[in-house]
């Protein structure tokens, strides 16, 4: 019964979002305020209906109602409750429902919280959100109904793919979807602006908080997914340039470009056409990602059952929305008046450079991701494009970006000179060089490029600190004044410095974990010891442990350094009863930023076991860096200027603003 109510709620949501797609538009056309305001009401109701539907499906999972086909396919009574809940989106239908839930949530958030948005703009934004929501509701209702019944109901479910039975599934997809779908708002804002024809600095100020929320979630979501793959797959890898990873990385790159270009638009009223295009493209790439992952074009742990009708449907959505929005862009972009002029060497120039590199990098990732698909479609040749391609194309493009990163924030708007900016960074350059030299001497004979990359990482990190120091005062300013000025700096300045610092940390982590790591593989009998990266690992015997819905064979390992016990690790091979499938559970010993990663291999009748060990210096920074970047985004998001004091018509007439 509850499942039917959930299904009904989805149909109800579709009805309301169809109303939302049309009625406010009529309101805008005939300047009818009540029709325009209806968008906010329908957005909230549609969200409540979808939320109810989502709760209904969750209820079916938690109570193991196997009369619902989807629950039977992906759940099991013995599964711990947390995985029953996260299992809701561990399959195609449920994950689409989560997608829709987030989409309707963002519409509702705009409806409720965007109070200072001009009525027409708000109505148009919600109209476009309505188009998106009704399309995806149609998709789920026609091709992927999660509430389909199974009669007669079986006694036991088929369980969730064991790889997905992890706390990672509870966190990674919701965050990622928050990011992906969050960019639907920048898309809607862009279309609304094109339809109404009014685009100015205020528009950028309205869009920026939403773009920031989406970017923050996507940043943490991708980092979280990377860490999940790292510990769950047992290969010690953290990024594979897998098409599905690329699908989430491309919107991230463009989203990063977008939050930088809105800055120019907001402050200087320039780059309008480009920013609008970027807002459209970012979400288009999120849609493309959804298509690649959900259509079954790619085989991956992310793509659940593939059904050709779904692929065609999503492709149609893709064509209509991307094609339609780009056509609208082409029609209306010429009517936009170019805004503030600036010279190439200026803050705007630096941000344009940032956008140029990020967009080009996205293009190289896109080529690498789609080339195998296209080639196979053309002449049937099967190829794979792996890390070597991306290291050769994406890697070099990042170098100028990282070099320019500390320069940009030190430049002034409109026109600037390179020499004074460089002069302020002498100290930073010297320190970075020193850091690189120290690393070079520590790892004598090691890879030269990596030493340079270490220098670059320090250049970025120290550059971020230098910006804050520069803003606190000229040479000779007393410390007290400096502190006072620092606390008084706008939060966006703190935010960008923090985010840039995070990028430096990320680069440092990548270099440490890929260039200076050690890998060792050995077969050990009980009592035998192997040496890896200065640690002694001893095989202490095998054991068997029982979990709620699995049984695991544990290899007991003690880790010693200079004879002193520092850790007991128990990597394991798990066998899940329901699907009779095995997973590898690596054991990880973290010491500050460095990790010792132990993965179990084959075990033999004489109790010996193959043990795969990786020592990865600074690897923690690979995930901590993005977290710092996201914190930077949050600081920037909390800037009051983004929410209040937006110049409105009322203000211009000299009336007091009611913030």
């Amino acid at each position: 019964m509850i499942a039917e109510l959930g299904h009904y709620a989805l149909i109800l949501a579709l009805a309301f979002s169809l109303v939302q797609s049309v009625v406010p538009l009529v309101g805008v056309r005939y300047r009818d305020a009540s029709l325009m305001i209806s968008a906010s009401v329908t957005a909230v109701i549609a969200f409540l209906a979808v939320a109810f539907s989502f709760a209904a499906l969750t209820d079916a999972y938690v109570s193991s109602d196997f009369s619902v086909l989807n629950v039977w396919q992906n759940s099991h009574t013995l599964k711990p409750t947390i995985f029953k809940i996260s299992g809701v989106w561990g399959n195609h239908e449920g994950s689409m429902l989560l997608w829709i839930l987030v989409l309707s949530l963002f519409s509702a958030l705009v409806a409720i919280f965007a109070k200072n948005l001009p009525g027409t703009l708000k109505a148009l934004v919600l109209v476009v959100q309505g188009w998106l929501l009704s399309t995806f509701l149609l998709f789920i209702l026609l091709t992927s109904n999660p509430f389909e019944r199974l009669i007669p109901p079986p006694l036991e479910g088929r369980d969730l793919n064991p790889i997905l039975q992890d706390i990672g599934l509870a966190i990674h997809p919701p965050l990622l979807y928050f990011g992906y779908v969050g960019f639907s708002l920048t898309f809607s804002f862009a279309l609304a602006a094109l339809i109404s024809g009014r685009i100015d600095g205020a528009w950028a100020r309205f869009v920026r908080p939403w773009a920031l929320i989406a970017w923050i979630s996507l940043t943490v979501g991708i980092a979280m997914g990377s860490y999940w793959a790292y510990y769950e797959l047992g290969w010690g890898g953290w990024w594979f340039w897998d098409p599905v990873e690329n699908a989430s990385f491309m919107p991230w790159l463009l989203g990063t470009a977008l939050i930088h270009s809105t800055l120019v638009m907001e402050k200087r009223d320039a780059l309008k056409i480009w920013t609008i295009l970027l807002a459209i493209l970012t979400f288009s790439f999120a849609l493309l990602g959804t298509f690649l992952v959900r259509s079954g074009v790619l085989t991956s742990v992310h793509s659940f059952a593939s059904d050709p009708t779904r692929g065609v449907f999503i492709l149609a959505i893709l064509v209509v929305f991307i094609g339609g929005s780009l056509a609208l862009f082409a029609l209306r972009a010429t009517t936009l008046k170019p805004g503030g002029l600036f010279q190439s060497i200026s803050r705007e120039g630096a941000l344009v450079f940032n956008n140029l590199i990020l967009a080009t990098a996205t293009a190289t990732v896109l080529v690498g991701t789609l080339y195998p698909l296209v080639l196979e479609a053309i002449n049937g040749t099967k190829i794979s494009v792996g890390p070597p391609y991306f290291n050769l194309t994406f890697g070099p493009l990042m170098i100028p970006l990282l070099i320019a990163m500390p320069l940009g924030p030190l430049m002034s708007w409109k026109r600037s000179d390179l020499m004074p900016v460089l002069a302020r960074l002498y100290f930073v350059a010297g320190l970075s060089l020193a850091a690189a030299l120290i690393v070079a001497s520590m790892t004598y004979g090691g890879p030269v490029l990596s030493v340079l990359a270490v220098g670059l990482a320090f250049w970025v990190m120290l550059g971020a600190l230098c910006e804050l120091a520069e803003r606190s005062g000229k040479k000779g300013t007393p410390l007290k004044t400096r502190m006072a000025r620092l606390t008084g700096l706008p939060r966006t300045v703190w935010g960008s410095a923090c985010a840039h610092f995070g990028v430096g940390l990320l680069v440092l982590g990548i270099v440490g974990a890929t260039a200076f790591d050690e890998e060792l593989l050995a077969q050990l009998k009980p009592g035998e010891t192997m040496n890896a990266a200065g640690y002694e690992l001893t095989h202490e015997g095998l054991g068997v442990r029982k979990g709620p819905n699995y049984e695991e064979e544990v290899v007991r390992i003690t880790v010693r350094k200079n004879g002193e016990l520092i850790a007991r690790l128990e990597p394991a091979k798990r066998v899940y009863q329901a699907r009779k499938s095995t997973t590898t559970e690596a054991a990880i010993k973290t010491s500050f930023l460095t990790q010792l990663y132990v993965s179990p291999g084959e075990t033999f009748p004489d109790q010996s076991a193959v043990i795969h060990v990786w020592w990865k210096p600074l690897v923690v920074l690979i995930w901590f860096g993005p977290v710092v970047m996201a914190i930077g985004g949050l600081i920037s998001f909390s800037d009051r200027r983004l929410r209040v004091g937006v110049p409105t018509k009322a203000l211009k007439k000299g009336q007091p603003a009611n913030a």
Binding site: N161, T299, S300, T393, S581
Partner: protein, 146 residues
Amino acid sequence: MTRKQRRFLNIGMVGAVLAIAATLVAVALRDEIVFFHFPTDIIVEKKAAPGQRIRIGGLVEIDSVVREGTQVSFTVTDGENSLPVVYEGSLPDLFEEGQGVIAEGALQTDLKFKADKVLAKHDENYIPRELEDLLKEKNVWQGSKK
């Protein structure tokens, strides 16, 4: 600098970045892609030279898996021909005799394939698409175990 010169410089800058990126992509697509072959392609049609980095795929032949310490050897078959593979490292969880597998590495001069990466199906229902196509083609496809 006149306005015209400045504009010229800006466009030149953008053009340079794009040209560099395009060159890198072209070089990488020529040198860094990995072709996929079946054992028959290699043994009969000699599509891959020893030392060239390729991927091979097929089924792991029943009773062919031999483990000696950290080293594993097995043969990959496409129903017509089989290719011996040697590998050192941990095998994926879903690696199994009689099941689909993809190995990345290079052919040695003794016509054994030395793999440094082995990929298996993602879970019990799905197998790499290349394999699915092959198995259907060679009529050894048993369908997904639903």
